[in-house]
């Protein structure tokens, strides 16, 4: 985050060049002033030389006039000649001065011209440099914007008072809020209403302290949905220990948060199910002990019932995440633990007739499994599967009782059982636990309708229970 040379130094470079040109301009102005002064000096000197030349001319003329008529020089003429030679001397000196001045003037003129040329060259060079620096700055800004719009994050900048000054196009793509609307504190309106005040407070605190800003909040998608984001912002220093601006990135963490939530729910569900299972185990032991003649009988029944519980836990844990256990899987798992299942009706005593893949509510699976277990063990010990001529047919259909409300109707029919006991046989056979499960537990816990009875040739049981609505949104599959 520290230093962003491609963003800042071209501007510095431009300022430096501007200073340098200013210095050159000042030097040029000084040289021009010098030149003007020299030209004035030269003109003054020329005037003086002209005047002296005239005086000398006049003096020569006077001398010639006076000398012509006389043979011998007269004192007056001598004085005039003296004056003349003084004037000549003055004129010579003035000429020399003029000469020196003219040379000086030529020299400064030459310097001035050369300085002017240098200045022009430097100005041209600096102009090129500035133009290229500006071009680099433009490229740098363009490529920065391009990069800023490539990343999946929402990026933004804020000034040192926390007012938003820029954000990348992702912000608009996601929120539908234009840059002008997002500027200053407008972005807060794109947040979930519940998150606005706490986020504003946290941002103000970060701006006041100059410390990294980090917070999770929900941002409204242009569709109206909200998703969770993680926002982070760092202050940029101006090199003198003061915050010059803030640079921030906002990352979509919605899926992550959902997964975390789901994990927490599943963990709680696992603990719940484990504790519930412990309680069920305790109850099964107590009930079995109470209804068994002796310990060996109780041990046998407990082992069978735990076997059934273990199978159903296996089914529940093997299903894919969010998947459900199907009725046919549950039924064949239970039956296969006791009798060979084949598709050949000639050799098999068991016939299963119903659609595969009818998914059950997960909260129903355990109790239903225990009920099917009791029906199966009774059939194996006393019913259709205890006699060579006996037959068990389990049929099931799905019935739509109302719009979106489906029920599974299971028909358990045993035939070919000789010596069906005349009355209340269940208390004599199996201790009544199975019957209690079917007639009381299934209605109580599953909202099922059940009937358990004895026909002349075997047990006849029907179970009708509610199914989960297909793809019902909002209902997790573990319910």
């Amino acid at each position: 985050m520290n230093g962003h040379p491609s963003l800042e130094s071209p501007a510095d470079e431009t300022a430096r060049l501007r200073d340098e040109m200013e210095q050159l301009r000042t030097a040029l102005e000084g040289a021009v002033e010098d030149n003007i002064r020299l030209v004035e000096d030269r003109d003054r000197l020329r005037g003086r030389v002209t005047m002296l030349a005239r005086e000398l001319q006049a003096a020569n003329a006077a001398y010639a006039a006076a000398a012509a008529p006389r043979d011998a020089p007269q004192p007056d003429i001598l004085a005039r000649a003296e004056t003349l030679s003084q004037s000549e001397e003055e004129l010579r000196v003035a000429f020399e001065e003029l000469q020196v001045l003219t040379e000086e003037l030529e020299a400064t003129n030459a310097t001035l011209h050369s300085a002017n040329r240098d200045l022009d060259a430097k100005v041209a060079e600096r102009t090129r440099e500035i133009a290229s620096a500006n071009a680099a700055l433009r490229i740098s800004e363009t490529s920065f914007r391009a990069i800023a719009d490539v990343v999946p994050d929402l990026l933004w900048r804020a000034d040192n008072t926390g007012q938003i000054t820029w954000c990348n196009s992702r912000w608009y793509d996601y929120t539908g809020q234009g840059l002008q609307a997002a500027l200053d504190a407008g972005w807060i309106n794109a947040l979930h209403p519940d998150d606005r005040d706490p986020t504003r407070a946290a941002w103000t605190a970060a701006v006041n302290s100059g410390e990294t800003f980090q917070r999770q909040y929900r941002i409204r998608h242009r569709s109206g949905d909200h998703r969770w984001f993680l926002a982070r912002a760092e202050p940029l220093n101006d090199g003198r220990g003061r915050v010059s601006q803030w640079f921030g990135a906002i990352t979509d963490v919605h899926e992550l948060i959902q997964l975390q939530d789901r994990q927490a729910v599943l963990l709680a569900e696992l603990r719940h199910r484990t504790r519930n299972l412990m309680a069920v185990v305790e109850t099964v032991i107590r009930k079995t002990l109470a209804s068994s003649k002796d310990i060996p009988e109780a041990r046998g029944r407990i082992e069978e019932r735990f076997g059934s519980l273990a199978r159903v836990q296996g089914l529940l844990s093997r299903r894919p995440t969010g998947g459900r256990v199907s009725f046919d899987a549950l039924l064949s798992d239970e039956l296969a633990a006791h009798v060979p299942l084949t598709d050949d009706p000639a050799t098999s005593q068991v016939s299963l007739e119903g659609p595969a893949g009818i998914e059950l509510r997960s909260t129903h699976v355990q109790t239903l499994a225990l009920a099917l277990h009791e029906l199966t063990t009774n059939a194996v010990k006393y019913g259709a599967l205890a006699h060579p001529g006996g037959r068990l047919t389990v049929g099931w259909v799905v019935r739509e009782v109302a719009a979106g409300e489906r029920r599974l109707v299971v028909n358990w029919r045993e035939t070919g059982v000789p010596d069906m006991p005349p009355a209340n046989p269940d208390t004599a056979r199996g201790g009544g636990y199975g019957r209690q499960l079917i007639e009381r537990a299934l209605p109580y816990q599953l909202g099922a309708t059940t009937a358990f009875g004895f026909a002349d040739d075997g047990v006849h049981c029907t179970i009708e229970l509610p199914l989960p609505a297909p793809d019902r949104p909002g209902e997790p599959a573990y319910v």
Binding site: R275, N276, M278, A279, V280, K287, T367, A441, Q445
Partner: protein, 127 residues
């Protein structure tokens, strides 16, 4: 218990049949007049109305926290409004309870019936 004027009347709310039946039987064996058990929230709320208008009234309740996906808290509120003591029973940890129910007694399943009774009757006696 046998010395009290009437057997304490306790409502059992639990959606797992085996647990409900077992708890009801055990409580009955301890001299409690068990009301219910019921396994659904709306049934429990209906039963509560009936119970409070009958002579015997209600001395306490044990509430399974999660009833087939529904939280039992409306029933807890209804009980609290009528000053009927209750105990939560759950297979979940205490974190499943919202903040304002954290002070209510919470039993982890499997429930120890005598502990339940001492909590309920204890609270009952204190009131």
């Amino acid at each position: 218990m046998s010395e009290s004027a009437h057997a304490p009347r306790i409502l059992v709310v639990e959606d797992e049949y085996l647990l409900a039946e077992d708890l009801a039987e055990t409580l009955a064996g301890l001299g409690v007049c068990v009301l219910g058990p019921v396994g659904a929230l709306d049934e429990a709320l209906e039963l509560l109305d009936t119970l409070l208008t009958t002579d015997g009234g209600l001395d306490g309740a044990v509430l399974d926290v999660n009833l087939r996906g529904q939280m039992v808290f409306p029933l807890a509120d209804a009980l609290a409004a009528r000053r009927v003591p209750y105990v939560f029973a759950t297979g979940y940890g205490p974190e499943v309870l919202p903040e304002r129910y954290r002070s209510a007694p919470l039993l982890q399943k499997p429930i120890q019936p005598r502990l339940l009774l001492s909590l309920l009757i204890g609270v009952h006696v204190l009131q």
